[in-house]
């Protein structure tokens, strides 16, 4: 048999080298959706706990996701990312204050930035602080992504109201979420909660309609099964 290795080897090399990193936007959206899996109990309960208290709110998560999230949330961040060769400095603004002696908060900030895993692509280079970061010490709060926590906690409150059998309160919180984050990466998750709340409120026909819309809008959603099951007995 003829050895075809020399023939295909260059093609294999091309394939091996052709590795595309996902975009920062996609990374941010995915991190948010995966983090929310616990909120909506899509994941197994034991895991949900670990998702909640684990990595998602940790410093490494911040380093990995804070910037991509900024990109999702704001066009200005996006422009900055696209044009800047070292965009990540924005996510760790407090790393090196302009004053020679580090302030009280500075060492903490360094610790936050340091554990960024090396395999993160662009976001990973958050760790080495550049002097340019020091020019914007006032935006220190950006070191954690408050919008992520607010957005998730809003959904979480909505869900806990639902488990307390207060569907009205749930729906109000979800309306608020919709108003604040109209193009949220968590639209599927929000809509699935709305449907459950409508069911709990006895508004079955409405729930059915929205479930049908849900299936049309997100045919391959991981939440599709639970939405369909919840509404399948409604005529």
């Amino acid at each position: 048999m003829i050895d075809e290795t020399p023939l295909i080897e260059p093609w294999l090399r091309t394939l091996r080298d052709d590795v595309q990193p996902m975009s920062a936007d996609a990374r941010g959206r995915l991190a948010l959706r995966l983090a929310s899996a616990s909120v909506l109990a899509v994941a197994a309960p034991a895991l949900a706990t670990s998702l909640r208290r684990g990595f998602w709110y940790s410093r490494a998560f911040t380093a990995a996701v804070a910037l991509p999230l900024g990109v999702v949330m704001g066009a200005a961040g996006h422009a900055y990312l696209v044009t800047s060769p070292a965009p990540v400095v924005k996510s760790v603004p407090a790393v090196s204050p302009p004053v020679a002696a580090p302030s009280a908060q500075a060492p903490r900030a360094v610790v936050e930035a340091a554990p960024a895993p090396p395999a993160l692509g662009a976001a990973a280079s958050a760790a080495p602080a550049t002097p340019r970061a020091a020019t914007a010490p006032t935006v220190k709060s950006e070191a954690t992504p408050p919008s992520l926590e607010i957005e998730l906690s809003l959904l979480e409150r909505a869900k806990s109201k639902l488990s307390e059998n207060q569907p009205q309160a749930t729906l109000e919180l979800l309306r608020e979420h919709r108003a604040r984050y109209p193009s949220s990466a968590l639209q599927q998750e929000r809509e699935a909660l709305v449907i459950r709340a409508l069911l709990a409120a006895g508004r079955r026909a409405e729930a059915k309609r929205r479930a049908q819309t849900f299936v049309r809008s997100y045919p391959s959603s991981a939440l599709r099964g639970s939405v369909e099951r919840a509404t399948e007995t409604i005529p």
Binding site: I8, M22, L30, L34, V42, A43, A44, G54, S220
Partner: protein
């Protein structure tokens, strides 16, 4: 504890009792941060249309998280993740409306100091190589990707895809035949 200190399976095997520690250290979020790109590219190589890769990456990790307890830390993580990506991609393809996409978004090759012609050639090479890969039947392609592109061993592949080693080996042989035939076909067309 630093959550992202993902214990590499190769190292874990050297330490007795390290398995439990590895499981404890393995944080879902860290796995996404570190291996998100890997899963993304695995789905792409499995022929998932580029518009669907993001959603399927999400579904893959969700499936991974649900089976977290089943991860055997003595085994390499990536082939295990690949097994989930393969199932998700295969399910996705079963829906008739999804078509295998050969063309795809061009990789960002700017900023490499190449001339425009070189970049075009490189893109064309990638497009053709990707097309040759898609010519391999899916279950064979999975073994082929793991072996030829990811450098996994046959026993690792067999474990990750839950198939006998003999099956993995014969799928690899058939995949190489498919791939070689596709390469010849494409090379011929280029003349």
């Amino acid at each position: 504890m630093t959550p992202h200190t993902l214990s590499l399976p190769g190292r874990v095997a050297e330490h007795p009792k390290a398995e439990d520690n590895a499981r404890a250290e393995l944080q879902p979020g860290a796995v996404f941060a570190e291996h998100g790109d890997y899963v993304w590219n695995a789905l792409r190589r499995l022929g998932v249309p580029s518009a669907d890769i993001e959603d399927l990456t999400h579904d893959t990790f969700l499936a991974v998280f649900k089976s977290w307890h089943a991860y055997d830390a003595t085994r390499p993580l990536r082939p295990w993740l690949f097994g989930f990506a393969l199932r998700i991609a295969a399910d996705h393809r079963r829906l008739a409306r999804h078509r295998v996409e050969v063309s795809r978004t061009a990789p960002d090759v700017a900023d490499q100091g190449q001339s425009a012609v070189d970049q075009l050639l490189q893109k064309e090479r990638e497009r053709l190589a990707h097309a040759a890969l898609q010519a391999v039947e899916l279950s064979r392609r999975a073994v082929f990707i793991l072996y030829e592109l990811d450098g996994a061993t046959l026993p690792e592949i067999a474990a990750a895809l839950a198939i006998p080693v003999g099956t993995a080996s014969s799928r690899l042989r058939l995949a190489r035949e498919d791939f070689t035939a596709a390469v010849k076909r494409l090379a011929l067309r280029m003349r």
